[in-house]
Amino acid sequence: MSDIGSRGYANPDKLVSTDWVAARLSDDNIRIVESNEDPLLYPSGHIPGAVEVDWVKDLNDPLRRDYLGKAGFEALASRIGITPDTTVIFYGDMSNWWATYALWVFELFNHKNAKIMDGGRLKWAEEGRELTREKPVISPTSYSAPERDDSRIRAFRDGVLQHIQSSGQLVDVRSPAEFSGEKLHMEGYPQEGAVRGGHIPGASSVPWSRAANEDGTFKNAAELSAIYLEEIGLNPAEPTVAYCRIGERSSHTWFVLTNLLGFADVRNYDGSWTEWGNSVGLPIEK
């Protein structure tokens, strides 16, 4: 894959290479964060100095279906030793699904000084780079966070309903079988309880993985434009909503549209199909 700076991204600073990370392992202004679906991966070996942010344990409210609040985020930030000025580098499994998901949650608290390591954990490992089981010793920091801001990059059910009633741009990033309603869950994944199959009316189907190369790195801007602008006709200046099953795959697409293609207003609908497909009375297309 070509150098990140030559790929034509709108905001190339949001993406760093494995080389870039390897050269900064001892930089105190940088905190490397691994975020995975598989809870065994980080303890089995991680980038030296990296801390773990677990999407279930650290990012979600333990009772409500919601993200952590201000106090929870401040405690998390303190635990992983960051200040608002720290550059946070996220990486993880599943072509960085969970890394982009964690970055998205951090941006809900306006921690914008955050980047993704292109290719994620698999690329680092396959390049033969060091992985350690030694957990770093982190000095807790003091982090004063703002209240979580759900108004900019997060979409809720009622907002999505208004969005589709005004023919707003909507991207369904699930598999084609989920989009068509043939399956109620992702190919290769178990059923997770949606009562109805199909998609939100007006949505275009672009599975998240089309934005990634086989090695987990992101496609270049021309390739991404061919998919999102030319193929399904999205207008980067218009508000756009991305959704999937619970908001994790769509955070990958949110990252692509926002940072790599420079869309002005992209929201991740984290309620996604597990909310929409179970809600009484909401419109559905097949």
Binding site: N36, E37, D38, P39, L40, W55, R121, G188, P190, E192
Partner: protein
């Protein structure tokens, strides 16, 4: 109701005493390190899709071969190199179920996944691992029906 295979019960007893996430994870990683993929004498890639565990995103495959005494030897592979949880579950099932009485294997409840991995794994991961157990249970049931 049949007992569980002795080795499985031993693991379940071990995990029931675990109180910290760190201890649980360390134990599971140690088990995953013992994972041995199916030998080429049994199966070679690309594997027959009939052996794929539907619902396991780590791309797990299961084979069951009958021993002379009528019990089964189970073999596994996990194609996702980052599928450590699936490797740990496969190693447990291999050690616990190969050569165990079929009635005991058939009696395994998929809920044991949560004794091993805890309740704070994602729903998708939990159910994927459950499908791995179900694939083994299915093989035992098939042999019992044909016996």
């Amino acid at each position: 109701m049949a007992d569980y295979p002795a080795k499985l019960q031993e693991y379940l007893d071990d995990f029931s005493f675990i109180t910290s996430r760190e201890e649980r994870v360390d134990y599971l990683i140690a088990i995953a390190d013992e994972f041995q993929p199916v030998p080429e004498s049994i199966a070679t890639k690309p594997y027959d899709e009939a052996h794929r565990v539907i619902g396991c995103e780590s791309e797990a495959f299961v084979w069951a071969l009958e021993r002379a005494d009528g019990t089964l030897d189970f073999y596994f592979d996990v194609l996702n190199p980052q599928g450590l949880s699936a490797m740990a579950m496969s190693a447990i099932l291999d050690q616990a179920c190969s050569g165990a009485p079929l009635e005991q294997v058939a009696a395994i409840n998929g809920e044991v996944v949560f004794t091993f991995f805890g309740r704070d794994i994602s729903m998708g991961k939990g159910r994927g691992l459950t499908e791995l157990i179900n694939a083994v249970v299915y093989q035992a049931n098939q042999r019992l029906k044909s016996a």
